[in-house]
Structures are given as structure tokens and as C-alpha cells.
């Protein structure tokens, strides 16, 4: 997985897998660049956010920008001011993990004047197995709302269709089809598909024909190994 520029923002319906992709992307960027920061802008949902993977970032020397200490788990719509330092330091690559839907994208709107001349990439993560974005209309509607709230245009679609550990290639293919249709309808680039590591074998055929990245899952439940 590779970012196309200095700033890559991940958006999508909530629960579509933005955070997992943001973590994987940040770690992958770190192998190519000295300074990588991930900005957790999720003001919507205080569970399963980038900041919950703080130890992973520490281990891989990726800077985590998020409310710190006791504010990290506060039920408040707060973001860290540290983003400005990173935005204007040309050495940094920045991954932004936004909250779900248009409400999550609202937190992006405030940075419009900061980053509008930096060609930020706004990626839309699609999980076709999620309610409300499993149809072309539903997904297109969500993109429209996110674009309005963020004041940016979506520049790429990522197919992350899965149902967790029970995902089969059938899910991936279905998501691929919906993503292709969505990309065509809205004239947006369909960038690539992300597939969980455990499907690597089954995904041979798919990965041969289409751009696919295998991702590791970091957000685990306490009873998962």
C-alpha cells in the first residue's frame, strides 16, 4: 500500500475499516519515509480508534497525533493541535484517520484552508457488507455527504469488503464489483482492494488480476488471539 502524496485522508461509512487501513498504510509509509504521522481525527466514536493502537505506532516509530492521556478516552469532540506542526513540516507524510460518515468528515472541514494547496488525497473506504453502503445508491449518497462536510473531493475508492474472520473471496469480489460501479458512476479512481492476511492463499487469482494489498488486523477483541 502506498500513499500518493503528503496527505492521505481515510473516510467512509463507520465500521468500514478505515482505522485498520490507516494503521497498515502508516506502517507501510514508514518503511519508505523517515517521518510519518498518523492523525486520529475520530470525534464520532470513542471505541476502536487509531489511538488504541498507540503501542504499535511507538514500536514502528510512527508519530500518533491524538488527544493525550485522560482526554484520549473523553467523550468530547476534540482534536489535537499538533496537526499544524506536521502539516507545515515538509519532511512528514501524514495519514489522517477520520471518523465515520459525514459527521466524522465534519472534523476535516476546518483544515480546508490549511491543506487545500497541498493536494490532499481523500480516500473512501468501502465495505459492501455494511448496512447503508451495500448498494450503489447508498455508497454514492455517503460519498456526497462526506465531500460536502470535508469540503474536499474524494480522490480514490478502496474496496475493503469483509465480514471479519469469516470473509471469503466471494465477499471481496462482490465489493470489487460495487467499487468499480461506484468509481464509474462518480468518475473517481478505484485505487485498490485490501484483503485480510489470512485470505492470502485464496486471493491469488484476484491479486494476480487486480491491485490488492494484504492487511494485518490490529483492532482485536479481548478473546481473540
Amino acid at each position: 500500500m502506498k500513499a500518493n502524496g503528503k496527505i492521505t485522508i481515510l473516510s467512509g461509512h463507520f465500521g468500514s475499516g478505515k482505522t485498520e487501513i490507516a494503521i497498515n498504510l502508516a506502517l507501510s509509509e514508514r518503511t519508505k519515509h523517515d517521518k510519518v504521522a498518523i492523525n486520529d481525527l475520530d470525534i464520532i466514536n470513542p471505541y476502536y480508534r487509531s489511538r488504541d493502537a498507540a503501542s504499535v505506532f511507538r514500536e514502528h516509530d510512527v508519530e500518533l497525533i491524538a488527544p493525550q492521556n485522560r482526554l484520549a478516552s473523553a467523550d468530547l469532540p476534540i482534536v489535537s493541535g499538533e496537526i499544524y506542526r506536521v502539516l507545515h513540516d515538509s519532511r512528514y507524510r501524514l495519514i489522517v484517520d477520520a471518523g465515520g460518515d459525514k459527521d466524522g468528515a465534519t472534523a476535516l472541514g476546518q483544515y480546508y484552508h490549511e491543506w487545500k494547496d497541498m493536494q490532499p488525497e481523500l480516500w473512501f473506504v468501502l465495505n459492501a457488507n455494511r448496512p447503508f453502503v451495500s448498494t450503489l445508491e447508498g455508497a454514492a449518497y455517503t460519498i456526497g455527504k462526506i465531500e460536502n462536510a470535508s469540503r474536499l473531493k474524494v480522490t480514490g475508492i478502496i474496496n475493503n469488503t469483509n465480514i471479519g474472520l469469516e470473509t471469503t473471496m466471494e465477499d471481496v469480489w462482490r465489493g470489487h464489483e460495487l467499487s468499480s460501479l461506484l468509481a464509474e458512476k462518480l468518475n473517481i479512481a478505484f485505487l485498490f482492494t485490501t484483503i485480510a492476511n489470512h485470505l492470502q492463499k485464496d486471493a491469488c487469482n484476484f491479486a494476480y488480476r487486480y491491485e490488492a494489498f494484504f492487511i494485518k488486523r490490529y483492532m482485536k477483541l479481548p478473546w481473540e488471539g
Partner: protein, 354 residues
């Protein structure tokens, strides 16, 4: 319809729609807000009504009104908001109205925090509001189980004319798992001759009220309620046991904690300790049978909870000193880990932990 990936909160909402619930009155609070948001989007699609109330107190009273009219109705909240609903729940119990109330619990007391907790156990199982009453409480451990138990909750509510509590914690509400809904299953219809839907002048006016000024009449109603609770105790107990047949030690845990505890049980079995698990699914009525069957042959029980020790009191009540009852808990939104539960088992079993 195949499997979909959903959040616990969404699953509760969609299961309610599948159970024929078309009315929802709520007020957002973390960590259950997705349930409210889902209903706002979903109910208009099925010709239902979603209304965001001005407060939790308003929402529960709207539930009272809708239940009086005989429709399936639900509200949801999280601990502090659920406390606000208690007056209304007592009214529902007193007026014998069916409704489903969801509590996706968080750390307390007071505002506490927004992390998962099970410390509302006392509140939901011992009545919660004022007066002599109990409400059935169902505690799912997985998202697929939510589908079944939400439907059961509505059926129990209608069958006994009672409010029913669906209890989860923030983790259950927020986590994602694949779930499958069976389409086209029949929704059980219960006759509601008491509903205030108008009369044809063919009888006395129908009145729904929890007010009863005459002492003898109120006492009679209270004994009637107690009789109803006795029937629920006979018919509505749900639980699961795991490896209890030959167990020397039995763990007791409900909801998400039962899943963590089950892993610890497996690990202890691998280490040679005969340990099992009782998972109460109905927290009230509390499943006494699996304890009565085992209390004279096990060495001890260990209740594992995300609280400072609440369900453990019910375990002690039913074990009646026949065996040792121990407790392990974490509070404040901290989720107990497999390893610390495993260590607790090993210590109880008199082994040396490594």
C-alpha cells in the same frame, strides 16, 4: 439474506425491526448512540416512527404511551441515561406495560466514563426503580445472540405485560461481528384487549395507570405481580454451561466477559485443571438450576465480572455455603484479560502460577 458485518448497537436495532418494533423513542449517549442513529434511518423505511426525545425521562414516558396503545416499542440508553429512565420503568412495571429497554452499560458510578462495564447488574436485576417489582433481563454475549434475544425480549414483554431489559456493555455495543437475519420469520402476535385503542361502547373504559389509591387494591395488585414473577421464574430462565460435568471449579460470567472467561477455562483445562463455566443469559430470573446441580460436588465457584462484585451475591445466595464462592473483577472500564482470569483459576486450584 447472507451475513453482514454489523456493530452490536446496529444489530439490536435491526433485530428489533425484525421483531416487529416500529416505534423507538430515544436520546443519544455513548456507547449506544449508533442504535439511536440506526433507528432514525431505518424505522421510516418500514413505516415506523423514530423520535428523538428531549431527554431520557421524556423518552421512557413516550414508550409508556406507545405501549399503552398496544404496539411494540423500544428505547435504549447507557448507564447514566438508563438511571434516568428508572422512574418510567417502575411505572411500566406497575401499569403492566410491555416494552424493551436497552442498557449498553458503561463505567460508573455517576458520569463515570464511556468504557465497558457490568456494574449495572444490581440495578437491572433487583428492580432498579421504586416499588416491588422485577424486570426480566437478557444478556447476550455475541452479536448473533443479540438477534435471538431481542426477539425473545419482545415476546416476553408481550406475554407477561412487562418491561424487559436487554443488557450489554460498551464493548458489545461497539464491536463488529458477522450476523445473519432470517427473513420472513413470523412475528408472534399477542392479543392486547387492554390496549387503549378505543372501545365500541361495549364495555367499561380502558384505563392504563400505575396509580392505585386504595390500599387493599394496591396490595392485591402487588401480589398479582409477584405471582406473575413466579411464572417468569418458572418459564423464562436461560443459561449455558460449558465443561461443567466433571468440573472441580466452575466459573460464572455473563455477556462479553463470558467469552474471555471461556478462553481462560480452555487454557486451564490444558494445564490439567478441571474447570467449567456457567453463563447466565437471563440475569433475572437468575438460573439457579446449574448451581443446585453442582454445588455439592464442586470445590468452588468464581464469578468474573466487570464490576466490584455484584452477580457474585446471587451466586452466593443459590450456593448457600455448599461450596466456596470467589470473585474476580475489574472496574472503571477495564476489561479483564484471559491471563489474569487464568491465574485466578490456577490460584484457586492450589497450583503454582508460572
Amino acid at each position: 439474506m447472507g451475513k453482514v458485518l454489523m456493530k452490536g448497537n446496529e444489530v439490536i436495532a435491526e433485530s428489533a425491526v425484525h421483531a416487529g418494533c416500529k416505534y423507538f423513542f430515544g436520546y443519544p449517549i455513548t456507547p449506544q448512540s449508533e442504535l439511536v442513529a440506526y433507528m432514525a434511518r431505518r424505522l421510516p423505511e418500514v413505516g415506523g416512527l423514530f423520535l428523538q426525545a428531549e431527554s431520557e425521562v421524556a423518552a421512557i414516558n413516550m414508550v409508556y404511551g406507545a405501549a399503552s396503545a398496544g404496539v411494540r416499542v423500544m428505547t435504549s440508553s447507557s448507564s447514566p441515561g438508563f438511571s434516568l429512565k428508572q422512574e418510567g420503568i417502575s411505572y411500566l412495571a406497575g401499569a403492566q406495560l410491555p416494552a424493551v429497554i436497552v442498557n449498553i452499560a458503561r463505567g460508573g458510578p455517576g458520569l463515570g466514563n464511556i468504557q465497558p462495564a457490568q456494574s449495572d447488574y444490581f440495578q437491572v436485576t433487583k428492580g432498579g426503580g421504586h416499588g416491588d417489582y422485577h424486570t426480566p433481563v437478557l444478556a447476550p454475549a455475541s452479536l448473533q445472540e443479540i438477534v435471538d434475544l431481542t426477539k425473545d425480549a419482545f415476546d416476553i414483554a408481550d406475554r407477561y405485560r412487562t418491561p424487559v431489559i436487554l443488557l450489554g456493555d460498551g464493548m458489545l455495543g461497539q464491536m463488529m461481528e458477522p450476523v445473519e437475519f432470517t427473513e420472513g420469520t413470523e412475528i408472534r402476535k399477542f392479543a392486547k384487549p387492554w390496549a387503549t385503542t378505543g372501545t365500541l361502547g361495549d364495555g367499561p373504559p380502558r384505563t392504563i395507570t400505575s396509580l392505585e389509591l386504595d390500599a387493599e387494591s394496591l396490595e392485591k395488585r402487588n401480589w398479582d405481580l409477584q405471582q406473575k414473577f413466579a411464572v417468569m421464574k418458572a418459564n423464562e430462565i436461560r443459561y449455558e454451561t460449558y465443561l461443567t460435568e466433571d468440573a472441580d471449579y466452575i466459573m460464572v460470567a455473563f455477556g462479553t466477559v463470558a467469552r474471555i472467561t471461556m478462553n481462560a477455562v480452555n487454557k486451564a483445562r490444558e494445564a490439567g485443571v478441571k474447570v467449567g463455566l456457567i453463563r447466565p443469559i437471563s440475569l433475572w430470573p437468575f438460573p439457579e438450576k446449574p448451581f443446585l446441580e453442582t454445588r455439592d460436588r464442586v470445590k468452588g465457584y468464581i464469578s468474573v465480572e466487570m464490576s466490584a462484585g455484584q452477580m457474585v451475591e446471587d451466586v452466593r445466595l443459590v450456593v448457600e455455603g455448599h461450596a466456596q464462592v470467589d470473585f474476580f473483577g475489574r472496574t472503571g472500564g477495564i476489561v479483564p484479560t484471559q491471563d489474569e482470569i487464568f491465574e485466578k483459576i490456577m490460584m484457586a486450584a492450589g497450583g503454582v502460577t508460572v
